[in-house]
């Protein structure tokens, strides 16, 4: 057995010769964005003491300076001796939901679970009074097989891949339910109902449905409907007949997390046109009212989560989370009020908005006057490639939103809800400045984790409704953006920024 010391946490692990580092590190919360294929640099570690072999994949992805400095891709390494390594990833900030909501009381307890690609949030509720008795969050244990939905699909297509992913997620959610019961000190038989929501890929992987059709154009679900299980077949520590329902998908990659978002925001009951944007690696956009609802998904990439940004990190201690223009320069807010070590998604959006206002960044996204990087708060800098990454993410969302509005005949929503963790933390005026959307801040509402809120609401639906939400789903039209002949043109057009700040911002400043 060899000893591995992991810094900065100081955790000590033991592993035998030949053990892939990936297996040991995944337990420590390290993510493998490309699924451990050696295709990205997301899992890089620095070897401080000891020896780790370098292979071809690492030579391709790391510079010779980096290799000489002990940098390795954890997914490509095996344990061969004692090691001291330093991790370059951070813990995730996971958004639960504490929004008050209206409900019809029923007896017993219920569990609502938001099965995200990255994170899982589970809440235990008293169905009598709607009170949240316990919350548990975790990184999705499928993460060792890739950070985004496409790499999960790829793994799901490999022999036994689907079964492995299904087992991982079923076991993990079952364990979270057990933890909720223990935390609230309530017995399992009190549970009447478990409701799960998630995107189409999570829906398929939990239910064990083939994902081949989701792997290529036109990206259609094999089976989009409500999936009902009981606790016994899932092997969960609950009375065997407790129903576990994974709510149905809306189309393409748009799943029950957005269906739940519709329940939470009541877009389908509104006389006015309303919008909902869930800003994640896979961005989902909804535009609708009680007449008609359009939805679409768009691959924004991980920039909003701080990934693929040179000094990017998740929103945790040390991350620049806000940047403001002060006296012709910038002032950064660092989470935890410590020395900045990186920048998270909300900080990146603020920084680019500030750079545009200060003339440091041109409307094309290029640094002005031959500048190659911009120090925000030493040692944290932004470089040209970072801005390009943000432009790609922004254009993916903005062009999707643009095309949905076009299908509505150019109509503008009176209110725009932002769902998800990033939507909750991003500055609305900075998001407008970079052109993610273009509305005054008072028209944009951070709506929190609408997927979880919608899942909770589903726990209280009358018995006549099994959760298939067919009335609502019938009115939702899924738009395949990639198949739209204008998509590429609109996308290219949305890559740039506008020259000046929208005028309403000044009104607010006064």
């Amino acid at each position: 057995m060899h000893r591995i010391i992991v810094k900065p946490t100081g955790v000590e692990l033991r592993a035998s010769s030949g053990t892939p580092l990936r297996d040991s590190l995944f337990e420590q919360g390290v993510e493998f964005p490309c699924g451990g294929q050696g295709r990205c640099r997301g899992c890089r570690i620095q070897v401080l003491e000891g020896e780790v072999q370098v292979n071809a994949a690492q030579r391709e992805r790391l510079s010779s300076d980096e290799l000489a400095g002990g940098w390795r891709l954890a997914c490509q390494c095996c344990v061969e001796g004692d090691l001291v390594i330093e991790l370059r990833q951070w813990d995730a900030a996971i958004l639960a939901d504490e929004t008050p909501f209206a409900f019809v009381p029923r007896a017993g307890l219920g569990v609502a679970v938001d099965v995200g690609t990255t994170t899982i949030v589970a809440q235990l509720l008293d169905l009598q009074n709607g009170q949240v008795l316990a919350v548990r969050t975790a990184l999705n244990s499928q993460g060792r097989h890739g950070a985004d939905v496409m790499s999960r699909i790829e793994f799901g297509l490999s022999p036994q891949g689907l079964e492995e992913l299904q087992n991982l997620i079923r076991r993990q959610v079952g364990a979270l339910v057990g933890q909720l019961l223990r935390a609230a000190r309530v017995p399992g038989p009190e549970i009447r109902d478990v409701v799960l929501v998630g995107n189409t890929v999570m829906h398929h992987l939990f239910s064990g449905i083939e994902v081949e059709l989701l792997s290529h154009f036109p990206f259609s679900p094999s089976r989009a409907g409500l999936e009902i299980f009981n606790a016994r077949e899932l092997d969960w520590d609950l009375p065997s007949e407790v129903p576990v329902r994974f709510l149905p998908c809306l189309g393409g990659f748009v799943g029950s997390d957005i269906l739940a978002g519709l329940l939470a925001t009541r877009i389908g009951e509104s006389g006015d046109l309303l919008g909902l944007i869930d800003l994640g690696t896979n961005g989902e956009i909804v535009l609708g009212n009680r007449e008609r609802i359009l939805c679409a998904s768009t691959a924004a990439g991980p920039a909003f989560e701080g990934a693929r940004i040179t000094m990017g990190m998740r929103a945790s201690a040390g991350a620049i989370s806000q940047v403001a223009v002060v006296d012709g320069g910038v002032q950064c807010h660092v989470l935890g009020n410590i020395q900045a070590t990186g920048i998270c998604g909300s900080g990146l959006v603020d920084a680019v908005a500030a750079g545009l206002d200060l003339g440091i960044i041109e409307p094309s996204g290029r640094f002005a006057k031959g500048r190659t990087e911009w120090t925000l708060s030493p040692p944290v800098t932004l470089n040209q490639a970072d801005i390009r990454e943000l432009q790609l993410a922004k254009a993916a969302i903005a062009s999707g939103f643009h095309l949905l509005r076009e299908r509505w005949g150019g109509a503008e929503p009176v209110r725009l809800y932002l769902a998800g963790a990033f939507g909750n933390y991003v500055s609305r005026s900075s998001a407008s400045r970079i052109g993610l959307f273009n509305y005054p801040p008072d028209q944009v509402h951070p709506a929190g984790n609408t997927a979880l809120l919608g899942a909770k609401l589903a726990l209280f639906r009358p018995d006549s409704e099994d959760g298939s939400c067919h009335h609502l789903r019938r009115r939702v039209e899924h738009v395949s953006l990639g198949a739209d002949p204008h998509f590429q043109d609109v996308f290219v057009q949305e890559l740039g920024f506008s020259k000046c700040a929208p005028t309403y911002q000044e009104e607010i400043a006064l």
Binding site: Q37, R39, F217, L495
Partner: protein, 213 residues
């Protein structure tokens, strides 16, 4: 500044009307159509490629520069047709692979190759192996350039190469692959002739391989 130097500048800056005007001007000054390619268009697009690699130019700038270059080549091509010294460096059949609708990266590579003197047969997106085989045969292509932006569609590149092999065409063409998830190792494992990590690398590779045909 000479007309060719001026033309090079306006192509880099993406000014299509100026590119057309300067091309006409150069011709009226007695420049031969064939002189514009080595004198302005090829060096302009090489410079665009360099700036793209430095992150100084992004997708929109590259696309408008390519459009300006096309403004010039549309005027020049009919004039050099039939001139044996101006035959294309090679014919490239290109497309985004089956299951993949991503277009932009493939278009940039196609435009850069075109500016470098290759004849391009663009099959578009979601291109099946059968369509590739058919186009290679019909166009007597020298190269096949395939793009994929998804890890899940990348596998279809292998199917395309296998289809070329069973059609007995594999020895006649060089297959180049690229796109975000594609790597050198992957390219080798499926038996491609080359991998370009970006449009500049793709053009360099095609030029090198063309020199050996």
């Amino acid at each position: 500044m000479s007309t060719l130097e001026e033309l090079k500048e306006v192509i880099i800056n993406g000014d299509a009307p100026a590119a057309k005007r300067l091309t006409e001007k150069g011709l009226s000054e007695g420049l031969k159509a064939a002189e514009f390619f080595p004198g302005a268009i090829i060096p302009a697009m090489d410079e665009v490629g360099r700036r793209m690699r430095e992150c100084e130019f992004f997708i929109p700038e590259v696309l408008i520069a390519a459009r300006a270059a096309r403004g010039a080549t549309d005027i020049l091509k009919p004039l050099v047709a039939g001139d044996p010294s101006q035959r294309p460096v090679g014919t490239v059949v290109c497309g985004s692979i089956k299951g993949d609708l991503h277009d932009i990266g493939k278009n940039i590579v196609a435009m850069m190759l075109e500016s470098a003197g290759f004849r391009i047969v663009d099959l578009g997106v979601d291109v099946s192996p059968e369509k590739i085989v058919e186009a290679v045969r019909r166009e007597q292509a020298d190269f096949v350039a395939l793009s994929a932006l998804l890890t899940t569609t990348m596998v279809n590149m292998k199917a395309a190469i296998e289809a070329l092999t069973s059609a007995g065409l594999r020895q006649k063409v060089r297959v180049l692959v690229g796109g975000a998830p594609v790597t050198e190792a992957w390219a080798r494992s499926i038996g491609a002739d080359g991998y370009g990590k970006d449009a500049v690398a793709a053009v360099e590779l095609a030029r090198q391989l063309a020199a050996h045909v």
